[in-house]
Amino acid sequence: MEKVVIEGTPKTPTINFDMVSGLLEIKGRSIPENSIEFYKPLVEHLERYAQKPQTNTNVNIQLEYFNTSSSKCILDVFKKLEAIHKGGSQIVINWYYEQDDEDMLEAGEDYQAIINVPFKMIEVQE
């Protein structure tokens, strides 16, 4: 499986992971009660990808809401990316936040402080 697409639902985001072009996108809302269950497949795909990553990997995170349960899982995803980056693959995490959404910007900065991968904070006009 070179391309993984998980369609979004009212509580879970759309996940698009193209291992051929080196693109990972998580967009929408992430507020499931049991986030571990939801993010488990993605973490497993990342472990597979880690064995033979592309030279460059672009990560786009554009979330409207995410609950604290997801925030841990998202950190796990970032940690997998960090390991891949450490292994020599170039990774950039683009963190999108809506204009005036200080909470979302701050959340991105929280991750930036913890994870050793370049982050780009990108403001989106409403």
């Binding site: 604290t68 841990k72 899982c73 959404d101």
Partner: protein
């Protein structure tokens, strides 16, 4: 059993209760409540900033209730077990301030640890809450179902208010825990 429904209605009206629920907290119920609240907030034409904040805090409050149910006895559907597994939730808006109130049973032996946690969180400044959040995020353990211990910290951080709580002893084994969260504009 006769309920003075007007009295009930009047109380809710005076407190400007927008939505309330009492009963079993399920995933489907939370989805419904969140969808209803989102529509209401849109119709009230609240600023995006406020809408987001209320919605975020609502998600955390409700999911706290949901995760907490796991700590209660599963039961075989007998009356006492059903009662223990049900909770109450209300949201209202008064004087430009949203109030989210939740109530649920808790085992009495869990009261002190929870109280200690809440008091610890209430002592922290804005900056300290940010650091504490990052600390628990990075080092904390996930419960099986995905409760990460971050919910209360997040609520305190987003509202900038103290967590206003109360424990009401019910019997030898159980107390009733209520939380009153304010989101000021």
């Amino acid at each position: 059993m006769m309920v003075d429904i007007f009295d009930f209605y009047d109380k809710m009206e005076r407190n400007n209760i927008m939505l309330s629920f009492k009963g079993d907290i399920t995933s489907e119920l939370l989805t419904s409540i969140l969808q209803i609240m989102e529509t209401k907030l849109d119709n009230m034409q609240e600023e995006p900033k406020i809408k987001r904040k209320v919605y975020n805090v609502l998600v955390e409050c409700l999911q706290n209730l949901y995760h907490h149910m796991d700590e209660m006895p599963q039961g075989n559907g007998t009356e006492p077990d059903k009662k223990i597994r049900s909770a109450i939730f209300m949201i209202g808006k008064l004087d430009n301030q949203y109030n989210i109130i939740t109530g649920n049973y808790i085992r009495s032996r869990n009261v002190d640890p929870l109280k200690t946690r809440l008091d610890e969180i209430n002592k922290l400044t804005k900056e300290e809450l940010k650091d504490y959040y990052k600390l628990v995020l990075n080092n904390g353990e996930m419960s099986e179902k995905g409760g990460g211990g971050l919910g209360m910290i997040d609520i305190a951080r987003k509202t900038g208010q103290k967590l206003n709580y109360h424990f009401q002893p019910v019997d030898d084994h159980y107390s009733f825990f209520s939380l009153n969260i304010k989101i000021a504009q």
